[in-house]
């Protein structure tokens, strides 16, 4: 196949992978929440209620799209797209599998690597803030304000934990980070060195917690916060425009899980299942399978946390971000630099 066809095929696969994850996540969310709360959960639509997401989609598609009278029409319509697109772009550098032949299973191998994901994912906040402002609704505006302050606060710690993984592996290229972990062990466990073990554990855990905050998930979902703000930034949105926010959040979760998998959990490799030298289609499929399994373990944890922990208060959220996570992340990074020098010297 020509390079262009390969690129198109990989983009198509990634798109299907991300969008296809949304109904699965809706189902996971409903069933797991029901299990945790001791309820039955959806069980009427299709076998085991498995067609419930389809029913949701039909409902969204057939509802009316209402633009509030005094809303800012342009930004109101544009915002759901701004939530939807950046996370999709962020997936471009995540290696979702090993190689097939000479072709890396990664859409774009950029020399800035994970920095690309970081910078693109940071654009997701605009959809939320502008959408809430354009709605011309007090609750939406409050949700937007909270979202922008929260995302700036947690992005710092998130960036530092990403840098920690980069420092352990010594490269920003995600493919080489995965390669490094295949040779030395997961970054979560310090990449095979006892010295780095506590730092890796701390970094991985912190990255996951900050990812919860970045994706506006409970216990950090202050931007929507039904109990105080009706629906937060998406109060005024209906039908597909609401569905876009909804899907954007889920896709961002998948992409963030993919990043955590790549940076801390060894990417597409699992000893005994995948063989890094196997470049046949069997090896490629197995590696995609392992990557998917790791991503879904993280996604399960997202849902699990959501239905287990209560929401923070806003001041607690800010205190946690600035006075706890940021110092820990900074300390981690400094300690890693010292350990790195000791190990090399």
């Amino acid at each position: 196949m020509t390079p262009w066809l390969w690129l198109a095929a990989k983009i198509g696969f990634a798109f299907a992978y991300l969008v296809g994850a949304v109904p699965v996540l809706i189902m996971m969310e409903r069933r797991i929440s029901a299990f945790i709360q001791g309820r039955q959960g959806p069980n009427r639509v299709g076998p085991m209620g498995s067609l419930q997401p389809l029913a949701d989609i039909i409902k969204f598609l057939t509802k009316e799209f209402v633009v509030p009278l005094r809303a800012d029409r342009w930004l109101f319509v544009l915002s759901p797209l701004l939530v939807f697109v950046p996370p999709m772009l962020g997936f471009a550098v995540v290696p979702f599998g090993n190689q097939y032949g000479d072709e890396l299973l990664q859409i774009a191998n950029l020399d800035i690597g994970v920095l690309f994901s970081m910078s693109v994912l940071s654009l997701g906040v605009y959809g939320i803030t502008l959408g809430g402002w354009a709605s011309n609704n007090k609750y939406s505006l409050l949700g937007s304000l909270r979202a922008s302050a929260q995302l700036i606060s947690y992005e710092l710690s998130l960036g530092l934990t990403i840098l920690l993984a980069v420092m352990i592996a010594g490269t920003v290229d995600p493919v080489r980070i995965v390669q490094w972990q295949i040779e030395h062990g997961w970054n979560l466990f310090g990449g095979g060195s006892l010295w780095r073990l506590p730092l890796g554990l701390m970094g991985g855990l912190l990255m996951f917690i900050c990812a919860l905050a970045e994706n506006n998930r409970l216990p950090f979902d202050l931007a929507e916060c039904e109990a105080e703000l009706v629906g937060g930034y998406h109060t005024e949105y209906s039908s597909m425009s609401f569905a876009m926010f909804f899907m954007g959040e889920y896709i961002a979760m998948v992409v963030m899980s993919g990043l955590i998998t790549t940076l801390y959990l060894g990417g597409w490799h699992f000893p005994g299942i995948t063989d890094p030298t196997d470049h046949s289609w069997v090896g490629a499929l197995l590696s995609i399978g392992v990557f998917t399994a790791k991503v879904y373990v993280l996604l399960f944890t997202y849902v699990w946390v959501r239905w287990t922990l209560p929401r923070f208060k806003y001041n607690q959220l800010m205190d946690l971000g600035w006075k706890v996570f940021l110092p820990i992340a900074l300390f981690n990074l400094a300690a890693m630099a010292i350990v790195g020098v000791i190990l090399e010297g």
């Binding site: 930004l75 800035i112 910078s119 940071s122 803030t129």
Partner: protein
């Protein structure tokens, strides 16, 4: 002419014009976002990939978000925005600004190096490694001094934002 550079420059300039001419500050911020993104594309086009990523991360991902945050926090209504300047004043301002810009650009255009085609970027130019190497060797002192400057600015804003002046206890 290089089509990519031309399009990025056109989009960036047009967005910048839209930014300064919008009355609603939120719209100005959105146009500024587009300007920032086209600057990032221009960096990419010049093989400065690391700079492009950091530009998006810092300017659009953090600084502009803070701008938007403040704009929304104030949430100015139409009557609070003040009167618009009369058209002659605005036209004169535009002419003056353009003239100043021309004055600054003229010497650059006049240099003989400007007309010569750019040499191809050396291997690894603009990558994380090469930028890091430069920052910690050749430009180590300026780099560290800038961080001092930023801390000074931070303390300055902290002192300005204090409810009571320094020295008065409790």
């Amino acid at each position: 002419m290089d089509p990519v550079a031309t399009i990025t420059a056109a989009v960036g300039t047009a967005a910048a014009l839209m930014m300064v001419t919008r009355r609603n500050p939120v719209y100005s911020a959105v146009w500024l976002l587009i300007t920032f993104l086209s600057v990032a594309v221009a960096f990419l086009h010049l093989s400065a990939t690391f700079l492009a990523a950091i530009h998006v991360l810092v300017y659009t991902g953090a600084i502009l978000v803070l701008f938007v945050f403040v704009i929304m926090l104030l949430n100015l209504q139409e009557d609070e925005l003040g009167d618009e300047h009369p058209l002659p004043v605005r036209a004169l301002t535009a002419i003056g600004a353009t003239a100043l810009f021309g004055l600054l650009v003229a010497p650059i255009l006049a240099t003989p190096e400007f007309a010569a085609p750019l040499p191809p970027a050396p291997e690894g130019f603009g990558s994380v490694e090469s930028v890091g190497m430069m920052l910690f060797t050749k430009f180590a002192l300026p780099f560290e001094l800038v961080s001092v400057l930023i801390i000074v600015a931070m303390f300055g804003s902290l002192i300005l934002a204090r409810k009571r002046p320094l020295g008065s206890d409790t």
